[in-house]
């Protein structure tokens, strides 16, 4: 919002403009819409980073849902200014987006039904039905060889619009495993447990997913400010505290211990 | 006037009542038509003439009373009803020729499909009938290609093709251009001369005078007057009939 136009998001932040922040709205513990605003780890990090960028003053924020499939167009369109939405930094995405951070490192893992004993390692996914959520690349790590992928297994893909649909299908036995970032899986497992659902995360991470802050391609000024803010938040313990707040006490989850090295802005 | 109309009763209506919703369109109708008789039904619009005509082959059901055709009550459904209808020809105001069939096919459809007459025989008979109504040369055209008068004559041929015991005519000439009225009436007069039993709803005085044995004047769902054509046109009894005649005779 705001009538003024700014060259960079940083200018907007520092000028007291209202920043449009993209997060997930359907990802428990990361970005889930509850009431007027979303809540979760990404949401809290976004608030903290922006506040840091504005010299410790609160920033006015408009929250905008940014599903996996819409993150790139939203940045290109200018629908949102900045994205904190479980956004893994990849070489392919770097072509379209400038990434600040990473602010945390997640690891791809596998979630299965609590009573499913046939899958205990990612390698067991061979021949199983796994979820492909629109706009997410996680499935490639299982089905493709490096560099894009990793395990190169012959798994069957089941299309879904988003990860909540994946989880619904997992629950209904319409697929066998949901594989994506452990933080995402942990969020779902925690939510399901609260309402009687039974899922288990294998706890066998096999990738590093560096969660970055999405910015419009070329906005290096803001990127650098974001990196500085993230460093500060790690240094003063905020990041650790936020991880504890949202993911504390979940079994088999390895939280990020120290500031992940910055990728550099390009 | 012809010399027929003195046979045994072919169709009898006894205390027939018919409603459309709450509208009482046929009120306690009693009427007998004898074999070979030509009955003209006349009366103001909305009086129930068409409805009366249509009950006689059960295109309309009745709510009470009895209709006896050829000694048996009208069947209610199924094959028996279809068989009855094939014995009672009907000619409509709007012709209702089958639009997707040629004139010849219109005429042969009933005989071949209902009577199982062999195709050639039905064809031959169709051509005779089309000859008789004067449109044999139009046999292979579609209805829409014919004038109204020609279509109505084809419709008469179609009805005759079933060798019906009786033919019902519901205002057969009122959808026609004036110069085509006579050609249709001529066919009907010929049919009357040949002894066909006919019930004709019409306003054509000329036809009534020349071909009818009896005239029934209907208004408001009732038979108001029932007499000979001469008597009716020259000396109507009721005010309703007088009033009606004064309107249609002046011009």
């Amino acid at each position: 919002g705001g009538d003024k136009t700014y060259a960079t998001v940083l200018e907007k932040v520092q000028d007291g403009g209202t920043v449009v922040v993209g997060t997930k709205w359907d990802q428990p513990s990361l970005g889930l819409k509850k009431g007027a605003e979303p809540e979760g780890f990404d949401v809290d990090v976004a608030k903290a980073v922006l506040k840091e960028m504005n010299g410790g003053k609160d920033v006015q924020i408009t929250w905008k849902e940014s599903a996996s499939s819409n993150r790139e167009p939203f940045l290109q369109n200018g629908t949102v200014d900045i994205i904190f939405a479980t956004y893994s930094i990849t070489e392919a995405r770097k072509q379209k987006v400038t990434f600040g951070g990473p602010y945390v490192v997640a690891h791809q893992d596998v979630m299965v039904r609590g009573n499913d004993t046939s899958i205990s390692t990612p390698q067991d996914l061979k021949g199983k039905r796994i979820c492909k959520a629109a706009g997410s690349n996680s499935y490639k790590r299982i089905t493709d060889p490096p560099p894009d992928g990793q395990l190169d297994l012959d798994a069957q893909l089941v299309d879904a619009a988003n990860y909540s649909e994946c989880v619904q299908k997992l629950q209904g036995n319409n697929l066998d495993a949901v594989t994506t970032d452990d933080l995402i899986l942990a969020g779902f497992a925690k939510q399901a447990a609260a309402s009687g659902g039974q899922f288990k995360v294998l706890g066998q991470p096999f990738t590093d997913e560096k969660y970055g802050v999405g910015l419009k391609k070329g906005d290096t000024k803001t990127c650098e400010a974001v990196n500085a803010a993230i460093k500060k938040l790690w240094d003063n313990g905020t990041m650790k505290q936020l991880q504890e707040k949202w993911f504390g006490g979940i079994q088999g989850l390895k939280l990020t211990e120290s500031a992940p090295p910055a990728e550099g802005c390009a | 006037m012809t010399d027929n109309g003195d046979g045994a009763p072919l169709i009898e209506l006894e205390n027939v009542n018919k409603y459309f919703g709450t509208l009482h369109v046929l009120k306690d109708i009693n009427l007998t038509v004898s074999r070979g008789e030509v009955l003209v039904v006349i009366g103001p619009s909305g009086g129930g003439k068409s409805t009366l005509c249509r009950t006689m082959n059960r295109l309309e059901t009745i709510d009470s009373g009895k209709i006896i055709f050829d000694g048996r009550e009208l069947p209610a459904e199924g094959r028996a009803l279809a068989a009855l209808r094939s014995e009672v020809g009907m000619v409509f105001q709007q012709f209702n020729l089958f639009a997707h069939k040629t004139i010849r096919e219109n005429v042969t459809l009933g005989p071949t499909k209902v009577r199982k007459t062999p195709k050639e025989q039905a064809d031959k008979r169709a051509m005779e009938l089309l000859e008789r109504v004067g449109i044999a040369n139009q046999a292979d055209k579609y209805p829409a290609q014919l004038s109204g008068g020609q279509q109505q004559r084809a419709a008469i041929a179609r009805a005759l093709a079933m060798d019906p015991k009786m033919v019902l005519f519901d205002e057969p000439t009122s959808a026609l251009d004036p110069e085509m009225v006579q050609e249709v009436l001529d066919v009907m007069i010929g049919l009357a001369r040949d002894g066909m039993t006919m019930v004709v709803v019409t306003h054509e005085m000329g036809f009534a005078r020349r071909a009818a044995n009896r005239v029934v004047f209907m208004a408001d769902g009732q038979i108001v007057e029932e007499t000979t054509p001469d008597e009716f046109f020259t000396n109507p009894k009721t005010d309703r009939a007088k009033d009606f005649l004064s309107k249609i005779l002046t011009h």
């Binding site: 136009t5 449009v20 709205w25 359907d26 990802q27 428990p28 889930l32 819409k33 509850k34 009431g35 007027a36 905008k64 849902e65 940014s66 599903a67 819409n70 167009p73 939203f74 290109q76 369109n77 200018g78 629908t79 619009a161 988003n162 909540s164 649909e165 989880v167 619904q168 629950q171 209904g172 779902f188 939510q191 399901a192 609260a194 309402s195 009687g196 659902g197 419009k216 | 459309f20 059960r58 295109l59 309309e60 059901t61 069947p75 209610a76 459904e77 199924g78 009803l81 709007q94």
Partner: protein
Amino acid sequence: MSTTSVLFDAPGPRARVRNGLLTVVSIIAVGAVLYGIYRGFDAKGQWEGRIWEPFIRWETWDVYIIPGLIGTLRAAAVAAVLALVFGAVFGLARLSDHAWIRVPAGLVVEVFRAIPLLLLIFFIFYLLPTVMGGGDYAFIAVVLGLTLYNGSVLAEVVRAGVLSVPKGQSEAAYAVGMRKNQVMRLVLLPQAVTAMMPAIVSQLVVLLKDTALGYIIAYVDLLNTGFKILPAAFFGSLIPAAIVIGVIYVALNMALSAFATWLEKRSRRSRKTAAPPVAPPGPAAVPMGPATPGRTALEGME
């Protein structure tokens, strides 16, 4: 009740018995299908109170469903107004005596009717930022897409409406000495509006329904909040959400459709137009009955 139809004769006693039997058999068949569906959903635990419980809480409606519904109605309302304007302008332009107005208008209408609406919305969504600079274009893309497509269909309705007024009406108007625009304004349009109202409302139902395509470009509509975000917040409630959202859509559209049907009945009976009602446009478009106003086929069947 004596209902004559093109298909069936008035039933006699045996037909009534047969219909009775058929009724029993079909009740059993329909019941079996419904029971099968019920059991299938039951087996997957879809009737559990837990997953339905959120829908009896006000917050659920306040936070998810109502804001989404407002988004849907807002897009539909704006698009409806614009589409009507577009339809009126292009519909009349297609009736112009001047080829330089008529032909381009016809081209525009034909092209926008031929483009799959979703592609059009996508395209506008991606195109706008490059021509107009950054911003949130989901709403504009949905509205513009709906306007161009439905406006084009409405243009055809308007044209058909004016053409459905019998030629005698305009001839009578010319014969008393009216000019072309007087004939259009005083005689044709007032009657055409009555004739095309039902078709317009039917098309608005289509428009309202198509707002749901906005979901695919993340426009915040009923489908988005109710079918994606809501089930994420309430674990396991995807199918209940789909059912609740479905009921809301169907109720909304049926209310509009019922209005259209009522309008159509009214204009069919209307004394105030010589024109028969214009056929509803779009997929269901069918040429109106026989040329001569008469009873047809299924009359009395419903």
